[in-house]
């Protein structure tokens, strides 16, 4: 499914020194950059061919819409209304009349062209600095027509990277648990979708309870917890083939799985006689190692991006708190000391922060702290929310939030939300059903 070929070549190398516009991502989205996304131009013959294959009237505008929506949800850009555009797409792509774009206050402009070439989709796009009157970037991609949405995501990633100086996160997917039915008899299925909610697909049927799916950062594998045959165990699932297997041979519940950054190990908890400890299993030689050894609950482990450290939560102090240790289990150190309970620590892909869930005075928070526990910042407060997962560039967190029920127990819902590291730009992530336990993939194309 993902074995697609995206050929990408640079038409013109951009000169970074000439660029005037820059997007500051360290602060909030108070001044999103006004950007014009011109519909990608398309010749009549190509248009007809794609209409036949993809059942889309104008694939050029559709791709532009994907880009526009991505830019908007990032919170850093303000895509301008197309009705105000003065220049036709095909002319703008050749040489924009910068005065026209300046007039509608666009600071950056994206133009492009779509062609049908040997049964394939060829897309070229250009990013223009309107104020400087210069081209900043020009790229072309060729792929199978069905990948048209991914082309939109890749264009967004390139534009985002060019304007912010950081890698994007748009050509990515989210795996999560789709939920249906009453709270007391919830049916849960694994589901996967593009980062923008498109191409949603269910991966299990809902016959058994499934929880906490997590992507392998290096492949199309997923690890998750399944109650298959009423035996809660960590499983490994290959999304491409649908093959799955139990991880290890444990005489009891294994849970809270995650991959190591190199994708070669699974780290998880194993519960026995009321005591949960952290274990790893090497996926190549199947060797199991016990990492923590303490008569308390040790769970929710997550590796640092260099694989040298592990953060986890434990109630060894009497209450659930966050700890870090070396990857061999030595040097355990508590890092959360604020008021309340702390759980679900997840190490940022940039390595400098740990995201967590906090419970204090009956409210739940998603927050971040430095890896030594200093600089705690709470990003959002709610009745119930937990389980943050980082975007691959470490700028955005996705998590799930549950609503309070009324006296009759009605009104429950579980939804995915995303928020910027800055605490700005909190957004509902649309899913066809209720949803929880999101996990963000790495960039599919690099």
């Amino acid at each position: 499914m993902l074995r697609i070929l995206i050929i990408c070549f640079v038409i013109l190398l951009p000169n970074k020194l000439l660029a005037l516009i820059e997007v500051d991502i360290t602060r909030g989205n108070l001044n999103p950059l006004p950007i014009a996304v011109s519909p990608l131009s398309i010749d009549e013959n190509s248009r007809k061919n794609f209409e036949k294959i993809l059942n889309k009237k104008d694939i050029g505008s559709e791709i532009a819409k994907v880009v526009e929506n991505n830019l908007k949800t990032s919170g850093l850009f303000n895509p301008l209304n197309k009705d105000a555009f003065l220049q036709a797409p095909e002319i703008a792509n050749l040489k924009p009349r910068f005065e026209d774009w300046n007039l509608i206050k666009a600071q950056a402009l994206i133009t492009g062209k779509v062609n049908f070439v040997e049964e394939k989709l060829r897309v070229e796009f250009r990013l223009w600095d309107v104020l400087a009157g210069k081209e900043m970037m020009a790229l072309a991609f060729t792929t199978v027509p069905n990948n048209w949405r991914r082309v939109g995501h890749i264009i967004t990633d390139k534009v985002y990277e060019r304007l912010t100086g950081e890698k994007g996160y748009f050509d990515t997917r989210i795996i999560y648990v789709a939920e249906e039915g009453p709270k007391t008899r919830r049916i849960k299925k694994l589901a996967i979708m593009d980062q923008d909610g498109a191409n949603n697909k269910f991966l299990t049927l809902g016959n058994e309870l499934v929880l906490t799916p997590r992507f392998n950062p290096t492949s199309q594998m997923v690890t998750y917890l399944s109650y298959f045959k009423n035996l809660p165990r960590v499983y490994l699932l290959d999304i491409e083939t649908g093959m799955q297997e139990v991880v290890g041979d444990f005489p009891g519940m294994t849970f809270a799985p995650r991959f190591s950054p190199d994708g070669k190990k699974i780290i998880m908890s194993f519960a026995k006689d009321g005591n949960s400890d952290i274990y790893t299993m090497d996926l190549e030689n199947r060797i199991v190692e016990k990492i923590t050894n303490h008569p308390s609950i040790d769970t929710s482990p997550s590796y640092s991006p260099n694989g040298k450290y592990i953060c986890f939560n434990s109630d060894r102090s009497g209450y659930q708190q966050i700890y870090i240790m070396k990857s061999d289990g030595t040097g355990v150190k508590r890092i959360s000391f604020g008021k309340g309970l702390y759980g679900t620590p997840v190490w940022s892909p940039r390595g400098d922060l740990i995201a967590f869930t906090k419970l204090h005075k009956g409210k739940f928070y998603i927050g971040v702290m430095r890896t030594d526990g200093s600089g705690e910042r709470l990003l959002t407060e709610n009745f119930y929310q937990e389980a943050p997962s980082w975007s691959p560039n470490g700028r955005v967190l996705i998590f799930y939030r549950e609503t309070e029920t009324d006296d009759k127990g009605e009104g429950f819902s579980a939804k995915l939300w995303s928020i910027d590291l800055t605490g700005y730009n909190e957004r509902l992530v649309n899913t066809p059903t209720d949803a929880s336990d999101p996990s963000w993939s790495s960039l599919l194309s690099n």
């Binding site: 309870l209 929880l211 009891g252 769970t299 929710s300 759980g343 419970l359 127990g409 429950f412």
Partner: protein
Amino acid sequence: MKLLFSCEKVIKRNIDQGAIMKLNKILKNAFLIVVACVALSACATSKKSGQMQGDVYTGTDTVEYLASGVPDRVFFATNESVLTTASRETLRKQAAWLRKNSNITIVLEGHADERGTREYNLALGERRANAAKDYLMTYGISSDRISVLSYGKERPVDSGSNPLAWSKNRRSVTVKAN
């Protein structure tokens, strides 16, 4: 109201000193009765919606029975896996019933309320079920007959978002496995 009204009548009829003393006594009694009524009604309401001691559920709404007089579940305080006096009594009844029915095997299903992170709650459910298992074992039930299964917060019995609902959900339920 009736009582106060009759008091007024008394005032009108008796104007001497002795009568006033009597009136004071009547008023005092009336006051005591009112206080008692308020206290009683307060008791009635707490019995209706309370069903909790500390934050441990003590009611019977959700309880089922393994056999006559043998409740199937025990309840826990928030974040705790310590067995209360009532829980231990329930488990002793279960142990007696299991000793009488030596062919029966059981699953102890441990649960947590919705006010905790999913993964921690899985571990907490397991810890609660094991607290029940350990107690049954001290009363002579072989560990071969007991298996443990944690559902964390995945299978609440009460879908309410209030302390009473949460107290019903913090439980270990003994389920016949055969």
